[in-house]
Amino acid sequence: MHENPSNPIAAGLRSNQGASETSGAAGGTLVADESLLNRVCAKDRGAMAELFERYSGMVYSVAFRILRDPGNAEDVMQDVFFKVWRQPGSFLIGRGSLGAWLAVVARNRAIDLVRNRKPSDAIDEVVLPAKTDLSAEIERNAIIEKVRGFLAGLPPEQRISLEMAFFEGLSHAEISARTGDPLGTVKSRIRSALILLRKAIQP
């Protein structure tokens, strides 16, 4: 894959992160995604069906949360998975968790749609660290419970600001205009929420 000059993560940093983290505890389950992707590269429809089975619910739910329309949400989901089928090399194991990557790609596609933008990013531009592996059902449920618990415990104004940023694609200024809160307050709330999120998901 060609290096995208607009990608803020340097290629060296990406590969280094992946090399160290795939050798960790989550490495065993990452292999399963990697194996499936390798088979998808060879146009194995069974492997693609398995990836779809594993992640389609999450990808659809992300799109639906943003778009609130089953048809549009399915369009986004189909688009995301079809691009994986057509370009499985867009995601490289070692650049992060496939599940997290799919969640972000689906989020970006849905935001583009809701804001009436052309797809803004090549899907290979989304790069994540491989801290969490969402391919294993048990680990996925555990991390999801942590994040839901974190959101439930967050003060409402912090949660709303964070959700406006993630699920509506709003900037600080847009959130400030929407809520009527000062810009500095909005930034402070998002900062606090990010710090608490990091704490909440730490093992």
Binding site: A49, F64, M77, E163, H172
Partner: protein, 262 residues
């Protein structure tokens, strides 16, 4: 925004989400080209934020979505051309050979159709099994909740805050044989940022208190803990609530906010 310093994480986060206007984003991109620390932090933030997507409330997918996707990739795979076999033309002696070739071709087509059909049915079966498993787990948990609440042996304990004004209250329903616990509280004060209420089971054996989950009251001061993971067959002599770190503690910290003996 930066003035030669590192980029604030709230700016990095929204940049990673693509939410910033081009001017602000360009400024951050220039900084990132020079600063490995901010690049690392942004990658970590991207991973954190991705979990907000992964943890979104599950929405039921249209029933035929999977079939539509599989049909789409099925249609996309180019069919390999079958190259005709070159046969020397001997018109007078070939009708039987042509008939044989036709029968073999028809047989191959039939086998392919059956294989595709079997594959489709297997995929549908797998999907339905997955749905049944999810429903079974959900029903099992609901039944367990109902059993704990309605069981004759369930202990119902009202927790009060000692001698102070009895505004905050808690009620624990505990079934030791199952390790089942349902706890409800009311009139709780908000906890400071970074803190949470934590529920404790005090074993009758005198063993160390067992943490039974952290929780935060809602705007009205109400909160509940339903079926936290607890060991089975641990008779309790009391229950307590303390204020701990938001991620929970392994031992309770004074003061005890709510307490109640069995």
């Amino acid at each position: 925004m930066m003035r030669g310093e590192h980029i604030p994480i709230e700016d990095l986060a929204l940049f990673s989400l693509g939410n910033l206007a081009s001017g602000e984003a360009g400024e951050i991109r220039l900084h990132l080209d020079e600063c490995s620390q901010c690049r690392s932090e942004m990658a970590a933030l991207s991973g954190d934020l991705a979990l907000l997507g992964a943890a979104v409330e599950s929405a039921p997918m249209p029933a035929d979505a999977r079939d539509r996707f599989l049909a789409r990739i099925q249609a996309e795979v180019p069919t390999k051309a079958v190259h005709p076999v070159s046969i020397a033309r001997e018109p007078s002696s070939k009708p039987l050979l042509w008939a044989l070739c036709g029968a073999i071709a028809a047989l191959i087509v039939l086998v392919v159709i059956l294989l595709v059909r079997v594959n489709t049915l297997n995929q549908q079966l797998s999907q339905q099994s997955s749905t049944i498993n999810r429903l079974t787990v959900s029903a099992s948990r609901a039944q367990e909740t109902f059993d704990v609440i309605t069981a004759a042996g369930a202990q119902r304990v009202l927790l009060t805050p000692g001698k102070s004004a009895p505004s905050p209250t808690g009620r624990a329903i505990y079934l030791p044989s199952r390790g089942g616990l349902v706890f409800e509280a009311a009139n709780l004060a908000p906890v400071p940022e970074g803190k949470a209420y934590e529920l404790w089971v005090i074993p009758a054996s005198g063993a160390a208190p067992i943490p039974a989950g952290v929780f935060w009251p809602d705007a009205r001061g109400s909160a509940s803990v339903v079926l936290p993971p607890l060991p089975k067959d641990v008779p309790a002599k009391a229950f307590g609530v303390t204020i701990e770190r938001a991620e929970g503690s392994s031992t309770p910290t004074a003061p005890i906010i709510l307490a109640g003996a069995v």
